[in-house]
């Protein structure tokens, strides 16, 4: 089974392409700092996460602490009851 982190990374690399060096979106890379995230892309990310993991994301949860890196997303998914997301 593909781990949540791999699914998210695949989505991010495919949907938010960049030629930045080390296009290096690592587990802890901040999407904003990497210059790949903007408000439209956050909406795409939310749509993907809701569809892929069957969760509902509240507006008040649209914060970097939940969504601005693969690590943050995995932890957030775990807190939303997605088992094994942060392992």
């Amino acid at each position: 089974m593909t781990a949540a982190r791999d699914i998210i990374k695949l989505f991010v690399l495919k949907t938010f392409p960049t030629d930045s060096p080390g296009a290096g979106i690592d587990y802890e890379t901040s999407f904003v700092d990497a210059g790949i995230m903007d408000s439209m892309r956050v909406l795409e990310l939310v749509e993907f996460l809701e569809g892929q993991f069957g969760i509902t994301i509240k507006d008040s949860e649209l914060v970097p602490g939940n969504l601005d890196s693969i690590r943050n997303i995995c932890r957030y998914l775990e807190s939303k009851g997605v088992t094994g997301a942060d392992s």
Binding site: T18, D19, S20, V32, D38, S39, D59, L62
Partner: protein
Amino acid sequence: MLVDDFLAMSASRFPGKTAVICGDRRVTYGELDETSNRLAQALVAVGVRPGDRVAVLLDNSIETAICIFGALKAGGAFVVVNHTTKPKKLEFILNDCSASALIIGASQFDSHKAAVSRVGSLRCVVVCGGGRSSRSSSHGIIDLDRDLSSFPSLRPGNRSIDADLAALIYTSGSTGLPKGVAVSHLNVVSAATSITEYLESVADDVIINVLPLSFDYGLYQLLMSVKSGGTLVLEKSFAYPFTIVERIEQERVTGFPGVPTVFALLLQMRNLEPQRFDSVRYVTNTGACLPPAHIPRLKVLFRNAKIFSMYGLTECKRVSYLEPAELERRPTSVGKAMPNVQALVVDDAGEPVGPGVVGELVVRGSNVMMGYWNRTDETAKIVRPGRFPGDRVLHTGDLFTMDDDGFLYFVARRDDIIKSRGEKVSPREVENVILELAGIREAVVVGVDDPILGQSVKAFVVPAEGFGITEEDVIKHCASSLENFMVPRAIEFCSDLPRTTTGKPDLTALRGSAGLPGDRWE
């Protein structure tokens, strides 16, 4: 007055007051003044001379503010480049303006190093963030974090005059190559003075800026806040709207500048309590008209705020604003000329037209740019002689009407520049990038109406046979060369393009095939 005098005066009046907040960092006017003095000394020491261009490739940060004022205090002009600019375009801009110095974030230095090394005019690269030990370059390198303290804290002695170049602001051109809008100190001071006058800006203002400092609308938030002695809450972007909402509440923000995209995203949020925005006394909008349906909802959300609908272009910064009291009566108007500016709607002969007649908007005022950097012919097309000796009139290329009471209404643009999120996108620039990709025979880029973006970028692509190009290939390639806001959001493959009788791609038909009217919305 000079633009850097904004800081000198506010630092003298409010040395201990917070000038800029970014993330969890705060800098006072005294600190901003002193650090920018040191940077100016460093720039002078490495050979930046009066009038030289100092390019800044950083995201919204306190360092960018330091660099803008540091460049000015060194007698130079600043050139803030969008931090998502890719190496090839950065190289073009640096060569175009013969930059003497480049200030760049450490995280971007490596990817841009090869491009930077090909810029012969550079005397120095200043790197922000991170150590410099592993870096090598043919240019002198200053580490902004480590080296500045060794330079004097006094402002360098050389002084500009207000006719000197203060900044180049690069903007998309219809030819596909970015153009540097050259503005003098007088241009900037004039625009900032007029705008702060109608916004009634005061030192108690706390302004939140979610717009890039490379965009004149974002840049002026910093300049005007410093001019008034206010506090600027600088955000990296509007990526996480709820964070901005919290920030507005925490910092008791009084001024909220945005573009329609920002307000549309805000209005999409559910259960947003108006009391969170009770400190906001004004909201400004430009870049494109607010959709009339959004106005009453914004008034509910920002219940204590005046809403200013405005119009401008980089070439003169701002032209007009609508008195907030008129917003309900004339929701699609961008008002009248701002203080110390004249705006007229004229026919092809340059004569003013009557109410309700469509003509080109022309602008007079000391806010009108010096010209496009190194582009005499293009400058002559847009800045033309006026009635008096030395008088200069800016021909905006935008078609307007004026009503019986003198209020202005945008009708359309004369060129095919796309406005997405309030920023200009040149279809030529995007098409040229797409055509670099092997396996593309033809490409046409148009603006497609979008409820959030105003317009989004769409490409119609004719592929060559046998290459198997996918939508993902095209988008990825564009993302490697273009800033994020220019990357097409949709690609449509076709076997051929509809043509006009002269054989050119039929843009009206293409826009129509995207389910849209031919004219752009603004």
